[in-house]
Amino acid sequence: MRLDAKIPAGPLPQKWDRHRFELKLVNPANKRKYDIIVVGTGLAGASASASLAELGYNVKTFCIQDSPRRAHSIAAQGGINAAKNYPNDGDSIWRLFYDTVKGGDFRAREANVYRLAQVSNWIIDQCVAQGVPFAREYGGLLANRSFGGAQLSRTFYARGQTGQQLLLGAYSALMRQVASGKVRMFPRREMLDLVVINGQARGIVARNLVSGEIERHEGHAVVLCTGGYGNVYYLSTNAKACNVTATFRAYKRGACFGNPCFTQIHPTCIPVHGTYQSKLTLMSESLRNDGRVWVPKTPGDQRKPSQIPEAERDYFLERKYPSFGNLVPRDVASRNAKEQCDQGKGVGDTGLAVFLDFSDAIKRDGRAVIEKKYGNLFQMYEKITGEDPYATPMMIYPAVHYTMGGLWVDYNLMSTIDGLYVLGEANFSDHGANRLGASALMQGLADGYFVIPYTIGGYLAGSHFAEVKNDHSAFTDSVKEVQERVTKLLAVRGRRTVDDFHRQLGLVMWDHCGMARTNEGLTTARARIQELRAEFWQNVRVPGTGRDFNQSLEKAGRVADFMEFAELLILDALARQESCGGHFNDAYQTEENEARRDDANFCHAAAWEFTGEGKDPVLHKEPLVFENVHLTQRSYK
């Protein structure tokens, strides 16, 4: 297999315009002859479904939740970037592009990132027109704020609920198309297989989560918008239903998986407090605009924060990174928190936390100002921990949050299977080895509103399609496989629950493939995962039947895929013998403990090809060519 990223020729700023001109068009009357399947209804899926339906395509949209409005994009708090330069502080498309490439530690494709920056402004226009209630200045114009990893204010926000408001905007556009009959909505469905016929993605097999029925859905193209795989760590800021199944099933049908080891550990989360814990809660990193991160200077200092005098506190981010201070990118902030805790300076009952202190900001701006900016976040913190962050510093610790890796896609967002597109967090494309704050919302909506509507037309107009009905043998075979797997999971009837296995898998991953990785640890983890997977199929207990609403069965299928996928993630981490962004291998660091890239050998995107059950996947490399930015050691000092 040869990876072709299909990056258009020409100077960077003109690539996308030129490409849009060169793409073939589907005439308006012909669009209704094409059926497009969209899986997932987060920012990418909802915006893609609505936009494709508006163009005239027949869209079938699937989600695992009871309503498309509940996709996990809803939980994004902080904001969405755009290069509007409203604050007149020096922003431009070029600077947003540059910041994103640098923030990703030079492991993303220049052309994709530039396009992302270019369409960022249209996204804001579109969302405002939909009625998204962004924050505004007194004069009625849109407000901006700064955000981690940037030295200017380019982030648009709707209190601490930006993801919710953007998603509800996209959801409302989707609902409008459902009402018009151009989108058929299939909620409470889980995609369990991709159907490939003559090398083209032609449909999916999905389980109806209420009736248990295994359904077949055919189409001319399939668009996966199924989010990231952070839950492979069990504890993460992802929602409970987030999973890798759709993308992993596509991988098994021939779509290469890109950079699975690029995972993002977010610095500002509420620390773990017990073994029963089911998920971790993110506190928006916008808090780092006003909160100061610190630990006691002396290891093992058990005093209350109020009793530790100023001189005995170490504001370690401000000390080490004077120009960015508390606003360093997420990977840097997370690794530094871990480093402090490893030195015994962590706080709280577990010693796995650092303070995030607002007392200076409250003194400077007054409680009312802080309350207006962060009120809902402070309230959320108090609900979970029972402590009042206006009175005592918050305690935070890094947690798995986002996955930059995902299915490999070309410039058109098409995977290595013809007609299989992958959008949003589910693909690997724009964030390299580390994502900057307020960029996920931007990418999800860029892909759905402004990229896929053009690129899918080029494919549909330029391809020949055999007539395919859902009784085709490829569908029948897939249904049989899916059914057998369900039966097999129910038949084990062992002594351990699905959650029990998932928790153990998560611990192995967190301990050995988390914020800092070593070759030895990764090798150990691989062996442990293989053992655990073998035990899973011998000893898991899945109650109930496959013929009705069965949440244990849903979870079991997802965990079974995580068990296999975890090994792929480890293999990728082992293959990448350098440190970059969220992938930090202890053996490769600068004297100041920053990630040390190896551009001579690893300036590529890794794309893993499935070669059969029980066989090692094959690694393909897409060289990353930087013609417009100079590769440097990332510095935030």
Binding site: S51, Q130, P133, R136, G274, G386
Partner: protein, 254 residues
């Protein structure tokens, strides 16, 4: 400080919409007060699974109070007794050792039970389909700062837009009315200049859809406002009524 409590749960079990349903009693032992309500249910379900019984079906997803998936009645209150809180954000420190908790699904004619505590709230999507949007195709939008929105108006629109669509307002209303839900969307879009062109049609159409889905009308009990985890105000219902009457009497829409 965290401590451990023991509880008795009286939980509604129902195999499907056709099943009559019944309460079952289960102990919930050694519950840490730091747990969330849903984590407490997780613990009970792990135990039931190991005892070869079927775990209790309940809905949940983000577990941080924003997706609107979770929600049951706890001792007769939607999302439990704590103000401005979803069930996933209700922590066990608000219960006492020895408490008995009665846990039931949200009940309304428009919410058929799927299983145990899981109900079908798709009627809320159908109400949005009737007009809970601004008709703007991708690419149609003018530059974002073209229409200024006074800050206080934008803030009020945001207050209304905070609705998470959990449907607790319906479950706590004696009429099973969805007026708070509908009014939140109508208000958000009515307050913004971008939403004005379709305001009349939206109000009429969404109210009509609400009636067709089997939700009741509002008779000012204010239970919805009391129970709403996002503390959406019934001021929005007043605004919906104004928008509705204005549309019904003055506009050309019908």
């Amino acid at each position: 400080m965290s401590k451990t409590i023991h509880l008795t749960l009286k939980i509604w079990r129902q195999n499907g919409p056709g099943d009559k349903g019944r309460f079952e009693t289960h102990p919930a032992k050694n519950i840490s007060t730091d747990m969330s309500f849903l984590e407490m249910l997780d613990v009970v379900n792990e135990q039931l699974t190991l005892e070869d019984k079927e775990p209790i079906a309940f809905e949940h997803d983000c577990r941080e109070g924003i997706c609107g998936t979770c929600g049951t009645m706890v001792n007769g209150r939607a999302h439990g007794q704590l103000k401005g809180t979803t069930l996933c954000q209700l922590h066990m420190r608000h219960f006492a050792d020895g408490d008995t908790l009665v846990i039931e699904p949200f009940r309304a004619r428009a919410y058929p039970v799927i299983k145990d505590l899981v109900v079908d709230r798709s009627a809320l999507d159908r109400v949005i389909q009737a007009g809970g949007y601004i008709s703007v195709n991708t690419g149609n939008a003018p530059e974002a700062n073209t229409l200024p929105v006074p800050q206080d108006r934008a803030e009020r629109a945001m207050d209304a837009a905070a609705c998470i669509g959990c449907g607790a307002c319906v479950a706590s209303c004696p009429n099973a009315s969805a007026m708070l839900f509908v009014s939140a969307k109508v208000s958000q879009l009515a307050l913004l200049p971008h939403g004005r062109p379709e305001a009349a049609r939206r109000a009429l159409s969404m109210v009509r859809a609400m009636d067709a889905c089997g939700f009741g009308n509002c008779s000012n009990h204010r239970e919805c406002e009391k129970t709403c985890p996002k503390e959406i105000s019934i001021v929005n219902i007043a605004r919906l009524n104004r928008e509705y009457f204005k549309a019904a009497f003055i506009s050309q829409e019908n």
